[in-house]
Amino acid sequence: MKPFKYLLLACLLLPFTLAGCADNRAHTQGVYLLIDTSGTYAEQVTKARKIINFLLANLNAGDSLAVAKVESKSFSEKDIIAKVTFDRRPSQANLEKRAFNKKIEAFANNVKGSAFTDITGGLIQAAEYLNEANPGYKTIIIFSDMQEELGKGTVRDFPIKLDGIRVMAVNVTKLNTDNLDPRRYLDRLAWWEKRVREAGATEWAVINDLEHLDKVVAPQ
């Protein structure tokens, strides 16, 4: 009878033992979306909502999502519009997604353009958030024309750290000057790619067609 008892006990404890072996965070995703609100680009916020809706539809329970705006000085928690780590239960996660969507809707209705564009500050803030949340897959989406314009006194010309983070530039619109000389656009993207890769990012991608957002979500 005794061996049977031990066997039963072992069977009962097996799930807990196995649970101890697995790292649950390794399967979750963390996405930080930076929305450029400077100048005329603020008008593109409707497209940004499309990306947010895509993320809300595709992120699962346990994943993290944060949306922040890129302003004159973006290295600040104040720029985070909404952030959430979805509940482990799908039904609760759905409720949280609805609430998140409402916050974004409120932001989209009252968006104001800023004078400068501090993308680097936003990247540093995003990396900080993602490293704290520590999901399995970390992704930063930059919804911007990637034209950084820093205000007076804003220092960003130092190496940044984006170790283990995927960076996606989405809807990188062409400026009037880019149309005159396309090399400016290409050089700008090449500069950002170099900067991001040197910072330790695992992936760099540019997605201009919002119909192909599948790459934004990390493959599980």
Partner: protein
């Protein structure tokens, strides 16, 4: 190239260097001919012997395994036939107890009915009308010579009396006939009853005859198995193969059912144990929980059928007393019902979760779709709930093919292993034969490379008139048979 040059005595004269090398090599090979031949033959002999030994061992083991398989197969077949004979005897017993157990009563009934029929038949016998004795009296009176008026009057009176008696007799005669007809009419149900009873007995006898024939067939099989004939072994092995094929097919269908079952509850289980929890790097806790529930349902079904003595996978359960067995049966049934109810609820929850996610996606979409609240939208939900409740019970019946697979797989695996071992043994013997021949071939090849010194040797021996040297030792067991 440098490597090749290092072998040349005179690198600038390649041909000469190669010739010198060839000459030296030939000398060396000729000098080492006898030991080299011995080594080649010894190696080939070694390999051939080792292979032949392994082949013999495999054949011997295969034979042992075949004998063991045969014993198990015959024992299993014997058990099977025994249970079939027992079942036939049970049928006969039931038939005799149910139908023929009442035979004395039936016989008494039939006899009573026959007696009644006979009595009634006697009653129905035609009673002849009273003999007309008055005809003699009438003749006597008619023969009177001096009758005159007196005799005429007497005859008239007689005529009247006779007429009266005749009418009375006819009426009586008709009344009697009417009574007989009534008796015959009342006999009809008795006849039918007797007919039915006799037909029943006849049918029972036919059934008994059928059972007796079946028992004869089983007994013949039993005797064959007892005699351990190859035919019975072959029949049982074929039967095991067929059983395995059919059971595997049914199991495959059951696996499909289990998969559907799993899909029904995997999503709602994530609501209970969390969607982002993983047991291992690729194993979701919710999936494992759903799988555990499905397996538990199958186990409960197994216990249920085991306690009903439909399957015999657990000897402990078969040997339980009836009271304990019934308790186990009720416990398994109740647990199965609970699990089926849980699954039905989970199926409902699954539908709700899907609907909730769809609603959320609709909320996110810019264009709101028209919400349909018709009966059609409820059909999948009801279907899922019904499936969730029914599938566990369907899965319970997997125990029957599972038992067949377990029993037949042993036989089939045994037969296949024996065949494989024999095939391997044949392959090894064949390889051993090749190696034993290979030794001679290698000796020939060796001699070809030193053909020039050998020719010289033969020439010298020929000049001196010596007998040729003895050939190197032959293969000690050259044949691979």
């Amino acid at each position: 190239m440098n490597n090749f040059n290092s072998w040349l005595f005179w690198p600038d004269q390649v041909a000469l260097s190669v010739l010198a090398l060839f000459f030296l090599l030939t000398i060396f090979l000729y000098a080492a001919r006898t030991p080299a031949h011995n080594v080649i033959l010894a190696l080939c002999n070694l390999v051939a012997h080792a292979l032949r030994f392994t082949a013999r061992w495999l054949l011997h083991t295969a034979e042992g395994l075949r004998q063991r398989n045969k014993s198990v197969l015959l024992a299993h077949g014997q058990d099977e036939v025994t249970s079939q004979v027992e079942r036939e005897f049970e049928r006969v017993t039931a038939l005799v107890r149910k139908e023929l157990g009442e035979y004395p009563a039936l016989q008494r009934k039939v006899m009573d009915e026959l007696t009644r029929i006979e009595e009634d038949y006697q009653k129905c016998g035609e009673v002849p009308p009273p003999s007309p004795e008055w005809v003699q009296a009438l003749s006597a009176i008619a023969n009177l010579k001096s009758g005159g008026e007196f005799s005429k009057k007497l005859l008239e009176d007689l005529h009247k009396s006779v007429q009266k008696v005749h009418d009375k007799t006819i009426a009586e005669y008709r009344r009697t006939y009417e009574g007989r007809h009534k008796i015959l009419k009342n006999l009809m149900p008795v006849w039918r009853s007797v007919d039915k009873s006799v037909k029943n007995i006849d049918a029972n006898m036919v059934n008994l005859n059928g059972n007796a024939k079946a028992i004869d067939v089983h007994m013949a099989r039993y005797e064959e198995i007892r005699a351990k004939t190859d035919k019975s072994e072959h029949t049982l092995a074929i039967s095991a193969f067929v059983q395995l094929g059919i059971s595997s097919l049914v199991m495959l269908i059951a696996v499909g059912g289990a998969f559907i079952n799993f899909k029904l509850i995997a999503l709602p289980m994530s609501e209970m144990v969390g969607a982002s929890d993983y047991l291992t790097n690729s194993l979701r806790t919710s999936d494992v929980a759903a799988l555990v529930i499905v397996l538990m349902e199958a186990s409960m079904g197994l216990f249920l059928l085991e306690s009903l003595r439909i399957t015999h996978l657990f000897p402990t359960m078969s040997s339980m007393n009836d009271q304990m067995r019934k308790r186990v049966m009720w416990a398994a049934l109740i647990l199965l019902l609970i699990l089926a109810s849980i699954e039905s609820s989970l199926a409902l929850m699954r539908d709700m979760l899907i609907a909730d996610k769809a609603a959320m996606l609709h909320d996110l979409a810019t264009v709101q779709p028209v919400v349909s609240d018709s009966l059609l939208t409820n059909i999948p939900m009801v279907g899922q709930m019904v499936m969730g409740f029914v599938l566990p019970f369907v899965l319970a019946f997997v125990a029957i093919p599972l038992e067949a697979v377990v029993y037949s797989l042993r036989t089939v695996a045994g037969v296949v292993i024996v065949m494989l071992m024999r095939a391997l043994s044949f392959a090894l013997r064949f390889t051993a034969m090749i190696f034993s021949r290979l030794g001679r071939i290698l000796l020939g090849i060796y001699d070809i490379t030193i053909v020039l010194p050998l020719m010289v040797e033969r020439w010298v021996i020929g000049l001196r008139g010596f007998a040729p040297p003895a050939k190197p030792g032959k293969l000690t067991s050259g044949s691979a048979s």
